[in-house]
């Protein structure tokens, strides 16, 4: 088990701990006479169940299967377990089970994947039950010891009290006995009104080590005898290695080996990464670039535009009435075409993984958003069976969807397999990371709205053209060829539902899949869909001569939760009052990941091209808020990520490869460009929505709509740097 919360854990302890993990499952079975098996943690403490270990000193170790990557789920999930467990929060620590351990125990910890803002919402039910079950067993153990009915006992703060006699004991004292009990078949979860820890902005459990340089990220892993690898994959996606002249670099300092990685990449293994990278840059490599080398941003844009304009049938994601007929017969119509580019995740820590391969074992240490996917990649790349593989998760320096992919894990194993017995740490340079992202997909959207003679919106037609993520990454999830996720924010119902009622509606997707590999990029399809929907809604309001908020409200009568968050930001930003002199406002709303979000921005514009964002207000209704302090940070962070993409982002293609190489050509917002985000939480209860991603959808349209209010000019293309618009 990899420990998270260990302020005293130094680097040496980590190296030793990691090495001992190689000994196999850090869990043993202790079968006492006549009783059921007690499963023990690595330190010998008894598991009450898969989620809860209690040490004799009353420390409670809560197991977390989902990955922490900064979003705070580690703390939130621990709060969920602790709420039901009724343990002393100050004595809570956490650890990750490994995917290998989970598989060996019939997936005792369920799904490890941490994307789609589902860390909390998709596991809240079973982790709370894990906590509740453990509480019932601990109380039962105490009652058995006292020979009293369990119903006469209560638990709070890890102390069990026999109410009639006033006798008390602690979880640590009864843990051994509790671990031997048969778990109750069913437990009742608390009513939300009785929550005392869920809903509290308690401090994160993983902060201290991040302030002292002692937190271990993938890039920091050290194993005895470890070597370092730098890699270059064919810069043209789909190309292969034709040849490389390793004799040119074998004499360079520190170089140990030059290896081909699959058909597409070459890696240099050296004593240090700096030596590996220096030698790799000197290595002559000839690529078979193939036909993709002819592709450019211009050729992609042309292909997508053709998808907008042709009359061929497209996948229909949402429909009511007859939009085309209503538009044809309308008093007046408005049309606009928007586009959104490729984006790189640009996690602060470039991709990396450390692999140790021997004939009968393969282990990997890495930051990953999906331990089980990484585990599957290790199996496949090593050719070894599940019981001989494992993945040890460490803190990722950012994820944002990129670390749900396993390309870097496969590469590390492929290199390590060519050097059995030697641990290999593969680290991508920032340039490699920019060249081999799994990019936010590229799309265009043509939108047509039609009004009757009284300026009522009678029809709306969106035709998307562009890339499908599922087509590339999860073709099994396509529905008769259609990518349902392409309609995030546009769906008729469900977790990403369209928030407007229009008598005649048609939303369709002409799928065009260029060779650039797409990926799940924080917010995913909500990013562009929310810009399209909310900027065009603004255009329609303007065309109808109506206030953008009032225009929306009239269409949102059947969508009270969408409307409630919109109203919340409008109220907080003071929409009904004029903005300060020279300051202009924009507003936007969207639903994604099961949550309703809205945003409003106040900006000023100098010379038509210098934007100062003065104020951002953002509201969210995720049903329940587990940790408001962390939700607030996710909301603010979504604006930084979303506005960075709007102003500075955009990956372009030339000769089949990505042109941006580093933060000088793919910039990110700094502190001077970012105002305070005023978060308004309006949890309405009864459902569990995500918080890491939905808000990013409203960041760009709120600012773009404010830009129109300030200048009378519509921006229909991202990024703004292409239009020489930047921060003031």
């Amino acid at each position: 088990m990899n420990k998270h919360v260990s302020p005293r854990m130094n680097r040496r302890a980590f190296v030793i701990g990691s090495a001992t993990l190689g000994a196999g499952l850090a869990i043993g079975l202790d079968i006492p006479f006549g009783g059921p098996a007690v499963v023990r943690a690595a330190d010998g403490s008894p598991e009450i169940n898969a989620w809860v270990v209690v040490r004799p000193d009353d420390t409670v170790v809560i197991r977390i299967a989902r990955s922490e990557m900064g979003q705070g789920s580690l703390t939130g999930l621990a709060q969920l377990v602790a709420e039901e467990l009724e343990c002393d929060w100050t004595k809570v620590t956490t650890e990750y089970p490994t995917p290998g351990q989970s598989v060996a125990r019939k997936r005792a910890w369920g799904d490890f994947s941490t994307g789609g803002s589902r860390g909390i919402r998709s596991s809240q039910d079973y982790v709370r039950k894990g906590g509740a079950t453990a509480r019932v067993m601990l109380i039962q153990a105490a009652a058995d010891g006292w020979k009293v009915p369990a119903s006469e006992c209560t638990a709070a703060n890890s102390v069990i009290t026999h109410t009639p006699s006033g006798k008390t004991t602690t979880y640590g004292r009864v843990a051994e006995a509790a671990a031997k009990l048969t778990p109750p078949a069913d437990v009742k979860l608390k009513d939300p009104k009785d929550w005392r820890l869920i809903g509290k902005g308690v401090k994160r459990l993983d902060t201290a080590d991040k302030t002292t340089g002692t937190m271990i990220y993938g890039i920091d892993v050290k194993l005895p005898g470890m070597l370092n690898a730098a890699i270059k994959d064919c810069p043209v996606f789909g190309g292969t290695v034709k040849s490389f002249d390793e004799a040119k670099i074998t004499d360079m300092k520190g170089v140990k080996k030059v290896v081909k990685v699959g058909d597409t990449a070459v890696a240099v293994v050296a004593d240090t990464w700096w030596h590996a990278k220096t030698a790799l840059e000197a290595l002559p490599i000839v690529w078979n670039e193939g036909d993709n080398a002819k592709v450019s941003s211009e050729s992609i844009a042309k292909w997508l535009t053709e998808g907008l304009d042709n009359e061929q049938p497209a996948y229909v994601g949402n429909k009511n009435g007859d939009a085309k007929a209503a538009i044809a017969g309308a008093a007046r119509k408005i049309e606009a075409v928007y586009n959104y580019p490729y984006q790189n995740h640009a996690t602060m820590e470039p991709m990396n993984a450390t692999a140790l391969y021997t004939a009968d074992k393969c282990e990997v240490w890495c930051g990953t958003q999906n331990g089980e996917a990484a585990f599957a990649a290790v199996l496949e790349a090593s050719g070894l069976p599940a019981e001989k593989c494992d993945v040890h998760k460490v803190m990722p320096g950012g994820g944002f969807g990129r670390r749900g992919m396993t390309d870097y894990v496969r590469q590390a194993v492929a290199i390590a397999k060519q050097m059995p017995g030697t641990p290999i740490k593969l680290l991508w340079s920032r340039e490699e990371d920019m060249a081999h992202g799994r990019y936010h997909p590229i799309t265009q959207c043509k939108m047509t709205g039609a009004f009757d003679a009284n300026d009522n919106l009678v029809a709306l037609h969106y035709r998307l053209s562009g890339q499908s993520i599922l087509f590339s990454l999860r073709p099994e999830a396509l529905q008769n060829g259609m990518d349902p996720a392409a309609f995030q924010g546009f769906a008729q119902s469900g977790e990403a539902a369209f928030g407007y009622s229009v008598p005649n509606l048609l939303i369709e997707h002409a799928m065009r899949n260029p060779h650039v590999p797409p990926g799940f990029w924080r917010g995913v399809n909500v990013n562009h869909n929310a810009i399209y929907m909310e900027c065009f809604m603004d255009e329609l309001a303007h065309a109808a001569g109506q206030d953008p908020l009032e225009f929306r409200r009239k269409l949102m009568g059947n969508h009270p939760k969408h409307l409630a968050v919109l109203n919340a930001v409008a109220e907080k930003i003071g929409w009904s009052q004029p903005a300060p002199q020279g300051v202009y406002r924009g507003i936007a709303q969207v639903m994604g990941y099961g949550s309703y979000v809205a945003g409003a921005a106040e900006i000023s514009v100098t010379d038509g091209s210098k934007i100062k964002v003065h104020r951002i207000v953002a509201s969210t209704d995720p049903g329940y808020v587990v940790n408001p302090a962390q939700v607030e940070r996710q909301i603010a962070g979504s604006f930084v990520y979303g506005l960075s993409a709007l102003f500075y982002g955009g990956c372009t293609v030339k000769d089949g490869r990505i042109e941006q190489t580093n933060f000088d050509t793919y910039n990110s917002m700094r502190i001077n460009e970012m105002p305070k985000v005023e978060a308004v939480m309006v949890p309405s209860g009864g459902f569990w929505g995500g918080v890491g991603e939905p808000t990013i959808g409203v960041a760009a349209p709120a600012v773009l709509n404010a830009y129109f209010a300030a200048t009378g000019k519509r921006i229909r293309s991202v990024p703004l740097r292409d239009q020489n618009i930047t921060f003031a």
Partner: protein
């Protein structure tokens, strides 16, 4: 070979003189708290103090750093007591993924050495580190908390 003075200790390292200081610190001195983010002095994840001045360690060579006083995140706490910036970062729960925070903390510590009570404009000018998680709001609040203490 190079002699570097890091966190008050002399390291004699088998390293070429043109090696970026960042990699000598991480790989040769074994102090991995200082992070690699871009290698071109853009992101600030590798920020250390050189003679007290916040410096992007990927952008200077080992030979340029020889004979100077280098402080990394591991050397910021003195005698087992956390630096006030580290304390504030913990109190305000500043980090998200935390990867940029070593560099962010070093940049802020240098700013506060120079200007104990920085204005927002001072912060805007001095703190140019990239944080992809977007912790800027907490960074700013934590700086003001320290300054008003």
């Amino acid at each position: 070979m190079a002699n570097l003075t890091i966190n008050g200790k002399t390291f004699t390292l088998d390293v070429e003189p043109d090696t970026p200081l960042l990699w000598a610190i991480r790989e040769n001195a074994g102090l991995t708290g200082t992070k690699y983010g871009c290698g071109i002095a853009q992101c600030g994840a590798c920020t250390v103090h050189i003679d007290g001045v916040a410096t992007r360690s990927c952008g200077i060579s080992v030979s340029e750093a020889e004979g100077k006083r280098i402080t990394t995140i591991e050397g910021l706490a003195a005698g087992g007591t956390l630096h006030k910036v580290q304390e504030a970062w913990i109190a305000q729960d500043v980090p998200q993924c935390g990867y940029c925070q070593s560099g962010m903390i070093m940049a802020v510590a240098a700013l506060l050495n120079e200007k104990p009570k920085p204005t927002d404009a001072d912060i805007d000018e001095a703190i140019t580190n990239i944080c992809r998680c977007g912790t800027f709001q907490q960074v700013r609040e934590a700086i003001h908390t320290i300054a008003s203490a």
